[in-house]
Each structure stands twice: as C-alpha cells, then as structure tokens.
Symmetry: C2
Subunit: 345 residues, 2 copies
C-alpha cells in the first residue's frame, strides 16, 4: 500500500527512470523568476518573418507563396549531410564519432498568426501528410537510422520564431532516448508478446484516471510517470512502428487529437501554451523493430500560471526529475478545460 | 580519425550518454528569447529577505544573527522525514514507492549582496565545513541512502532568492544520476582497479587541452563530453568517496578552486554567472563503494552573452543533448579569463 498524497517516486516504464512526486508541495509560494507573457497578437503576414511565404531566408532563398505547409533544410542545421565518417577513441575515456544528418524546418501554415490549436482539422491533416512524406523520403537514405519529428512552441521553449513550425532532425546514429526506449520496449515485447505501450494503454483505459482524449484510434493521457507539470503522451491504439503506417482514418483522428489536446492546453492559463512535443518512432534502416509502438510526447513547462514555469535545475539535473502536483491532479485540470479555444469562446 | 570541426557525438563516461556537438553552428544568429539581466546591485542586508540574519521565515521562525553560515530545514521541502514506507505496483506498468527525505537550506554568508566568487577563501572554507558536518550528521540516519549537496545560482536557474545559498536533499533511495554513475564507475573499477575519474584525470592532465585549474589537490576542467556551453567538473586528485574524507589542506584547496572557477565564470560575460552546481558522492548506508570518486558538476546555461542561454528543448528532450561550441573552445574561453573578479578589477 502507498499513500499517494505523501512524497513518492514513480517509474517511467519507457526509460526505467524515477520521477520524484511531492504532492504536498503545491502551495509553495513563488518568489522567483516570472516569464514574460508572449505577445499573442500577431499579423497574418509579417514582412520580417523568414518563415512567411514570399519572404527571404538567411541563405538568400525566397520562400514560395505556399498555401498549406512548406519544408526546407535548416539554414543553421546542427548536423549535416556531407559529414565524413570518423571515430576517435583514447583508451575508452575520450570517445567521439562523426554524426551525419539532415535538419529540416516545416512550416505548419502560411498564416503567421496561427498555432496548432487555432488551425482547423483539414490544415492539421496537411501537416500530418507532410510528416508522413518526409519520414518516407528520409528513410530511403540508408545511412539515416533515426528520424526525430518535433515542435518547440513558445519563446520559453527556445523557439526563435512564433510562426507555426516544427522541425525534423534525421541522423546516422540512435539518440540516447531512442536507445533506452528501444531496449525497454524490446525487453517487454520479448517477455509478453504484446507491446509495452499496448499493455499500458489497456490498463489506463480500464482505470480511466489519467485519460484526456479517447477516440477510435488514439488516446491522449497524462502518463503515470509524468515529469513536466502538464506532460501528456499520445499513443496510437494500433501497435504500429511509425507514422507511415497510419491509414486515412487514423490520420484524421490524429489531427483531431492534436487539435483538441492543444486547445485544452491553451485554455488552462488562457495563453498560448508553450511546449516541446515530438514523436518517438522505430529506428529506420536498422533491422526490424516489432517491439516499437508509435507515440508522441508533450513536455510543457508551465506550472502555476502563464508566467510561472517549473525549473528542472539543481536536484533535477544532479539527481533526477521532481514534480509538485500529481499526474492525477494535472489530468483533472486538463480534463475540465473546454474544447473550444479561449480566443473563440 | 575524426575531424572535430565536423558534427560528431561524444560519450559521457560517467553516464554512457551521447552529446551531439555542432562546432560549425556557433555563428547561428539568435532571434529568440533574451533573458533579463539580474540586478546585481543588492544591499548587504535586505529586510524582506527570508535568508538574511534576524529576519522572519515562512514558518514564523526568526533567523539568528548568524555570522558565517546558517542551515535549516526547507520550509517547502520536496521530501519529508516522517513519510511512511509504502509501495504500489500494478503489473509492473504503474510503479511507485514512498520516498523519505530531509531537505535543507544553507546560507553561505550573512551578506545578502555576495556570491561565492565574491567571498574570500576563509568564508568559503566555512561553507565547506558546514557541508562536511551536514554530510556526517545526515549519514548517521541509517534510512538515508544518498545526500545531494547543490546550489542553484541565478533567477534563470530557478533560484528564488539572490541571497547566497545552497541546498542539501537527502533521501531514502538513490536518484537516477547516482544509480547510473555508480554502475559505470563500478564496472570500470572492477576491470581496471583504478577509479574511472582517476584514470580520466591522469589522461586530461597529460593532454592539458581542457584543464582550467590544477592545484595540489583538485583539478577543474571542461569534460570531454560537456553538455552545457561552459560546463565544468571539479575532481579531487585523491580517490575518495565523500566530502568527510577531505583533510584541512584539501578543504583549503577546494575553497580556492571554487573561488577561482566562479570568478572566471563571472568574468566571461561580466555578469553574475548562473549555474546549477553540485557534488556527486558515494551513497551512504549502502555497503561499500570503493569505485566512487568525489566530484562536483557545474552546469551553467549561458551561451553567447549574459542574456542568451542554451535551450535544452525539442531535440534535446526527445533525443539527447546538443551543444554548439566545442568543449575545447569553451575551455579556451574560461582559461583566458582573469582570476580577479570584474567588480574588483
Ligand atoms: O527549493 P527552491 O530553491 O525554491 O526551488 C528550486 O530548486 C529546486 C531543487 O533544485 C527545484 O526543484 C525547483 O524547481 C527550483 O525552483
Ligand atoms: O533550431 P532552433 O529552433 O533555432 O533552435 C531551438 O531548437 C533546437 C532543437 O530542439 C535546440 O537545439 C536549440 O537550443 C533551440 O533554441
């Protein structure tokens, strides 16, 4: 037995890591840093924005007058396609390996003033189409082993341009998080012949404590081991390895799920809710990965208001993550939000 | 062979994790969030500060008129001493365990206007004495398995009060980072009969590329796998398990090392340099840990200026950490700083 109102830690089944939960700590007064609230009043077109249609980018390219989405290689890519192979190892203490990759930027809409929660389902579907295409094209290059699709939303999340956009980093080796999620899913699948996330989803659907959205093809919920205050995970009901396997029906449901989840987020503090979000999918060109189950993480930093975030510092950096409100309380708060965006209400 | 000017990843030998290095990316223009620069002009005594001598704290306690350091139990502790044991496990998918602990706050000085780099060596020695005492006292409680000594410096690092202070969280289980560093050090020690960090230190001292400070008892250097832009690690030359083993000479050298390192940090951008820093030490009341080698991590977020930090978001949260300048460039920058604090110069 365990009293969940007392301090405890929970295990993240995808990584094996602990998160410390301090339910009693929620009434801590905050005397620290308050964030500026981003100006949400933007024009539909901004002549100085390098993502708006027809504008010029850093490398001199003129963006086309695109009508839905637009994708291009990041002008300041962290990894590059033409990097040569190489390795350095000094008695196993200094170890480095060349990393090859392609970094792309994807605009979600020509409209500078929108964000995912303000876009309609057909427009979000266009973004999902693009994600599918890009995943398929990138995985044709046999040196690419992993493709990370993600979005940084809000200045507080290091996003340098409010024009709605995401990124895709694809690379020649598997990143840390994928190595560990692969190992954990593999172990579970070998033992139980069912994917870890399918088993987890079934359990959560029977308990109904942390479920936010449950439609024909997707579930959005606050994971039992949520680290960020309002962290959620979107899991496909079908056990599939990557986004290219989604049927038209599934894509429609995914668009609806992303729209509803981000509307609920914006409504919590009546603000454009910042987050980093991204899909975790099976590695590519790396043998078969029947253990892998597609999912998407949302890591939002806000804690108490539009201007007070959770700091993952100090103990968190040196020991491990810590949270104040319980995942169940967070789920309650997200669940009670309207599915109409506050700007429309 | 590997060209370190091309994108590559390096391995953190203490955790086994990769960090992606993008040396070419340093000239990326920054159009994103700029941080407010903290007002550094503080009075020696602030009547509204709950850490200053003789002031009242949240729980009504009046602080004594202390002259050096002062320690008390955190009024908003994340873990509590009186938590009862308990466990919950639902088919290994939902796992939680009660966590018992004690969170303390330590003021470094009665002076509200100082920080470590502005304190003299005898005053820093008083802080080290207190760390030693606290570690010794806390480890007498046999249910405490790990003691995390750390400091969050600067509003940008979630520090809610500029009065110089640190924290100590002690707890009934080992946090993630300690579990992994223990496993890695154990493996190396079993194989080589020398501690991982002793072997690493000897190699770095022979290469001299990343060394910042090298005195009789301590070395401060930019680790080969540094994640944060100006990350450093302080390693004791003697292979010891925890702070209680330091001799008076070693403590004196540690005080000098901390003072010089933080002065160099402040001088980089002529600002009070924010960071989270903390010691990693052997677990306590947990059998013997001959593999453990005392060290202290400094994780500072600033990248380009006093107001532009590195954001560990998006790819970093979903894949793994990424850095722009190389650890060697960072070491060069820290090395060329004066050891006289910019406010004194
Ligand atoms: O206890 P404090 O200083 O108010 O809080 C700060 O340090 C803690 C330990 O690193 C973190 O959990 C908090 O997020 C941070 O704001
Ligand atoms: O490429 P951007 O959007 O300028 O940069 C942002 O996202 C990247 C990927 O998550 C991070 O490495 C950067 O720290 C962040 O500022």
């Amino acid at each position: 037995m365990l009293d969940l109102n007392q301090p405890h830690h929970r295990i993240n089944i995808l990584t094996g890591e602990k998160v410390l939960v301090s339910p009693h700590r929620n009434n801590r007064p905050w005397q620290g840093k308050v964030e500026e609230i981003a100006n949400d009043d933007r024009p539909q077109y901004d002549p100085t924005c390098y993502l708006c249609p027809t504008n010029k980018r850093a490398d001199g390219t003129i963006n086309p007058d695109y009508k839905d989405t637009y994708v291009f290689t990041n002008d300041f890519s962290a990894i590059l396609e033409n990097t040569e192979e190489g390795e350095y190892n000094n008695v196993d203490l200094l170890q480095a390996t060349a990393e090859r990759g392609i970094c792309k930027v994807i605009t979600f809409s020509p409209r500078h003033d929108l964000t995912l929660p303000e876009m309609d389902v057909p427009s979000i579907l266009k973004v999902i189409d693009l994600w599918q295409n890009e995943f398929e094209e990138l995985s044709k290059k046999d040196w690419i082993k992993y493709i990370q699709i993600f979005e940084n939303k809000g200045a507080i999340m290091g996003c340098s341009n409010p024009h709605p956009h995401g990124q895709i980093w694809s690379q020649s080796s598997l990143p840390n998080e994928i190595l560990i999620e692969t190992a954990r899913q593999k172990e579970y699948f070998a033992k139980n012949s069912v994917s870890l996330l399918k088993a987890y989803l079934d359990l959560e659907l029977s308990l109904k404590e942390r479920i936010i959205i449950d439609n024909a093809h997707f579930v959005a919920l606050v994971p039992y081991w949520a680290t960020w205050p309002f962290e959620t995970i979107v899991i496909s009901k079908r056990h599939i390895q990557n986004i290219t396997e989604f049927t038209p029906d599934e894509k429609e449901d995914l668009a609806k799920t992303l729209q509803e989840l981000t509307i609920r987020y914006d409504n919590i503090f009546s603000t454009s809710f910042p987050y980093s979000a991204g899909m975790h999918q099976a590695p590519v060109n790396d043998g078969i990965h029947p253990e892998w189950h597609w999912h998407m993480h949302f890591y939002p930093p806000l804690l108490r208001s539009a201007s007070v975030k959770k700091f993952m510092v100090g103990y968190e950096m040196l020991g491990g993550p810590q949270r104040d409100i319980t995942p169940e309380t967070a789920a309650e708060i997200i669940k009670k939000q309207s599915t109409i965006h506050y700007k429309q209400a």
